[in-house]
Amino acid sequence: MSHVDDGALHAYLDGELSPVEREQLEAHLADCSACRARLDEERGLVERASQLLGLAQPPERAAPPPLHQLGHPRLMWRLRMPLAWAATVVVAIGFGYVLGGGTYRGGPPPASEPIRSVTASSTAESSAGPVEVAVAEHAERQRAEDAPRARAARPTARREADKVPDQAAANVHIDGAAAVPAERRLAAAPPLRLDAIVVTSSAETGRAAARDQPVATAWPIIEREAARALLGTDPVGVPGVPVRDLRRSPAGDAVVLVEQQVDSATVIQLFQRRIEVERVAREAAPTAALAPQPAAASLYGGTERLARFVGSLRVEIAGPLPADSLNKLLERARPIP
């Protein structure tokens, strides 16, 4: 018999040779010191590999449930989730309608409506599930904006809320407790600073909101050139993420929106505007919607609106991702040629 191959040695060590094969192999090993040495080597390898795999063990957990419990409860649970989801959507829309109706005072949004009034307030408006949150957000915004502006924003918001029930549903997950710190923030709002990182809570829970985006369907899609003209420079995006479209604010306030497709279900939005325009808008309405609000990142686990200056632009990011992911994406934002 010629020398044995590695496969045979491993099969031997694994006890997987047939009795005949084993006998032949052992007869050879008895005569061949080279193969005996290799056998020892392979034995070491088998042991080492097994030991390494042992290091990649899941932590021990409680005993598994009895076998007979595995079938139905899980199935039921799976059915219950969508049903519960559907129920929250219905409730949220109901609340949103009542709340929106109660505060509706008519009148279209002014042409100079800043972007925040459209997107952020629509989110807050539609987060009507926990009424406290919506009310607190309202109060805060109302304080932040001058009254006619805030009122004017609402019809827009309501239309948005009706269009996007999913978004309302996502917001329902914030419990009433979140409203308390939100109200506290009212008292402790710091002076406005242009360079502050802006965090505007949209009261969503991160993963649950994965499908939901602040809609900007009313924002016309524009060409690259038009975006560049509005911004005075290249629009900003996250490198390596496909740009789905470029849009501009319907309000004519020179805000450009870059929507990027992170994956099939995830779109991030980068709202951007020239700092000069920003400053003018701010001076015109010092407490307008784009003004920084107290940091809310710790108050909500969900999607926040973070802002940063990139070159001559002020860029805000939104998307159905955790705040730290959005923050990191925003850090990577660069002018896209």
Partner: protein, 167 residues
């Protein structure tokens, strides 16, 4: 049923979880998938429950990996650690341990070698591995020999720098 599924459950559950864990790298998810596999076995009553369970588990893990890859896509844009599984507390704890290095070493194997090795480690015989992977029975020894060697070499050759980079 030739095999009592309850016996298989007792004898194989842990091995199945371990097998799945080394594919999805999330202990909780591995348990969920293992239970799901048994739940399906309750319905389908397969002839060879053990082999059937591993086939189903491997398929579920593959689907899971595809889904997770999609979900992770944005994270890999952000972080320099594409192997980070989302939401796995265990992974956080493991992050600086040898387990992570074993995981990285396993990733260096070809899918077929890795599958054979994981199945062997889960207690499968050469015959069962052959059935499961489509390899010839006579090729299993060679496959395992190669898989083990690559695993050990990949593990030993990994520098400490990898762990530092994860910090």
């Amino acid at each position: 049923m030739p095999e009592d599924l309850a016996d298989v459950y007792r004898s194989t559950y842990r091995a199945l979880v371990r097998f799945l864990y080394r594919k999805v790298w999330d202990a909780e998810r591995a348990e969920d998938l293992a239970q799901e596999a048994f739940a399906r076995a309750l319905v389908h009553k397969p002839e060879n429950a053990r082999g059937w369970l591993f086939v189903v588990a491997a398929n579920m893990a593959r689907d899971e990996a595809r889904r997770a890859a999609r979900e992770r896509h944005h994270l890999t844009l952000l972080k320099s650690e594409p192997e980070a599984a989302p939401g796995a507390v265990e992974d956080e704890i493991d992050a600086s341990t040898q387990g992570t290095r074993v995981r990285a070493a396993l990733d260096q194997l070809t899918p077929r070698d890795r599958e054979a090795l994981l199945l062997w480690d889960a207690g499968m015989s050469y015959d069962e591995i052959a059935t499961q992977t489509g390899l010839a029975r006579g090729a299993i020894g060679t496959t395992l020999a190669r898989a083990r060697r690559r695993l050990v070499e990949a593990y030993e050759s990994r520098s400490e720098g990898q762990n530092v980079a994860r910090g």
